[in-house]
Symmetry: C2
Subunit: 208 residues, 2 copies
Amino acid sequence: MSTVGNATNIFWQELPVGKLERQKLLNQKGCVVWITGLSGSGKSTLASSLSRELYTRGKLSYVLDGDNLRHGLNKDLGFKAEDRTENIRRVGEVAKLFADAGLICIASLISPYRKDRDACREMLPDNNFIEVYMNMPLELCEERDAKGLYKLARAGKIKGFTGIDDPYEPPLNCEMEINEKDGVCPTPGDMAGEVVSYLEEKGYLHDQ
Amino acid sequence: MSTVGNATNIFWQELPVGKLERQKLLNQKGCVVWITGLSGSGKSTLASSLSRELYTRGKLSYVLDGDNLRHGLNKDLGFKAEDRTENIRRVGEVAKLFADAGLICIASLISPYRKDRDACREMLPDNNFIEVYMNMPLELCEERDAKGLYKLARAGKIKGFTGIDDPYEPPLNCEMEINEKDGVCPTPGDMAGEVVSYLEEKGYLHDQ
């Protein structure tokens, strides 16, 4: 409606600002970097390091951390299979919104089931889903055990712990894989550098 | 852990990029502009117009639209009271993330119940929740009826429709109120201008 002469009837929809415009403002392309892997495989370390490296280049990123979200958006969810699936679905939906907002959204979650990760990939248009698999041996993750969770899982005090009594399904076609080289783990800076190089190469660090 | 000489044990947490740094990058402060009001009161119009006006000033905003989110994040929810509450809660949590990311997040939802809106306000630290009440008469909204929903509600084909057979609870202490002046509705540009002036005055359009 847009009736001149009767102001109370004027009611038009202004065109909202779109993704391309936001990308122009930020000089980058919105996407999701989805970091998956066992507890202790270095997901949070990479997420922090990557956000830091992007920041030094003037790029806006935001980390969605699986654990943190369980205190907020997903606080109504537990760890049974359907709750895990719903947990991942919601993070995927939010990551999609951040990518649409023009940000490089870094999602850091164990996300053990292939179908759940693939469902998130499906949500994202134009291949803007970059799956990064932290391919670290269980032994190494368990040795690190920064949160003491493996110890609890081995003692049977946590049930359904990924890698111990719940499966981790490795990606079949992920965009990137981080692993040991000659038995040596890459440093956080090296891992971040690898991802940044990928983003640069694929054109995400400029708006066109 | 950070054991020099045994690279596989090195595992440190780099400090992630924080809100203040993102705000510096964007030269603005993250916050939530929560637009509440009846269907047809102009919420989406203001959201679009405001995002446009902010964009012309080089500011990054993102609109969370209640209807749109029901196709994604909240597609598992209906319209009964507890679903409405959960709907608003999730939008509040996501809006909080966007504000933390440094964006001016514009949430546009009927959000009829005071307690649900207040719960979202509580989530936001440092008064970064700006409630904008579209105070338009029901008669005007019903006359507009852009989506034809009032007609359906009056015909009893939609149950629990806000303003018809479900209550709208006006804010008691909102930051801004948009209303008719001498029986004339403000234009989208005027409404956006009012909100931008408020944001400017409160210092949200600069990082410090």
